[in-house]
Symmetry: C2
DNA sequence: ACAGAAAACGCAACCGAGTAACAAAAGATT
DNA sequence: AATCTTTTGTTACTCGGTTGCGTTTTCTGT
């Protein structure tokens, strides 16, 4: 009875994507703060209230694509092979995403993606919103680690550390690309960083003399 | 010639504190979003533009006190005893702050402080701003760890993990107090959590089976 | 003590984000 | 086709934050 179709739903979907796409284009051209939502609405040929019916805030026009990855870490832990350790699963997954040049790893040199990241990291408002998304990721991962057998405090500490490490790795990769290197050229270093980071997670900062 | 005095500076200082104090009182009474900056300005008997000359944004009226702790972790590392490891210095310092019931540890049951924390954690806008402050703390700490001999990536990873762990610990303590326990009653648990967290930092998640 | 420079302030007007109310239009249902 | 529901546009509003400008207050030099 519910074939996921319906002209209405399709139109909504298209409007939503049109809005986000239009907004990002404008933001990339002139900067997040230099473009008003009224302009975005006009360019997408909808009214301002309609825009806000689709996106609760201006920032979400940009972050809408990122919300798709929400809860990925928790999913990886929950979907790991029987007997596999959570950290091992996450580590393998990260290396996979690295090879795929997934933007969430920071290792994607498609010009549009690079410009997009410049926009994110260069706009405090977007960065702040982004960290709120990360907080939810963290909570979900903590729950998943709890299911995997960790006690409450360990699960929360571990989740926080893992999410944090991913952010640092992504930022590191992005900085290399921002310096002009190609993704292919730094792939090896990125893998090494990831290995190092996961070893640090697994073996502690103690082994590095801190 | 410059005795740090001057009527002007003193007045500015007082106005600044009056504004922050007035704002926090009002926010605690009715909630951050239910009080307009115009009201705050009126209650403090200054004009709206003047308020914004003292605080760049509404959120900073609340966070102004917290900014004082800015860079504390980095300072601890830089000021550690010769031969002492950074992690050991940070660990000792955290335990000290715990015993002092310092609000930054989350372990302070003074009613006003508790209400203040409710305000912080219960207002997304404040939380977001707070994490931006934490980002700077992280950068500073990374620099300090770098000076202490860690290579770039390790310093950044370590800094991120340490700051994150502090946040998790503080939040954990706050949750216990929010459940009605007294600071004295949970002090022991708080120390245990901190020990556990720092052991995790030092020895890695591996020892806990993750 | 007094005049002038510099800083801080208040006022009023303004811009942009986000919301509310209501009317108009479009899709779904029979 | 007629009706009901959902979505949309218009207008107008609140609130955070800024700007320009004239006025008051404090600091400085004599």
């Amino acid at each position: 009875m519910n074939e996921e179709t319906g002209l209405r739903e399709r139109k909504k979907q298209r409007t939503r994507e049109l809005l986000s796409k239009t907004a990002i284009e404008l933001f990339l051209e002139r900067g997040f703060d230099q473009v008003s939502v009224a302009e975005v609405a006009a360019a997408a040929e909808v009214s301002k209230p309609t825009l806000f019916r689709y996106f609760p805030a201006k920032e979400d026009l940009v972050l809408h694509g990122i919300a798709d990855h929400q809860g990925e870490a928790a999913r990886v832990v929950r979907g790991r092979a029987p007997g596999e350790r959570p950290l091992a699963a996450l580590r393998a997954h990260f290396h996979e995403r690295l090879d795929a040049h997934d933007p969430i790893t920071g290792l994607c040199d498609v010009p549009a993606v690079l410009a997009y990241r410049d926009l994110l990291y260069g706009t405090p408002g977007l960065l702040a919103r982004l960290t709120l998304y990360a907080l939810e990721d963290e909570r979900e991962l903590a729950a998943a680690l709890g299911e995997a057998g960790a006690d409450g405090m360990t699960a929360r500490l571990g989740a926080a550390q893992i999410i944090t490490v991913h952010q640092v790795l992504a930022r590191g990769n992005w900085e290399r690309l921002a310096d002009g290197a190609s993704a292919a050229a730094v792939l090896g270093d990125a893998h090494m960083d990831a290995d190092r980071a996961y070893e640090l997670l697994g073996d502690g900062l103690g082994v590095r003399g801190l």
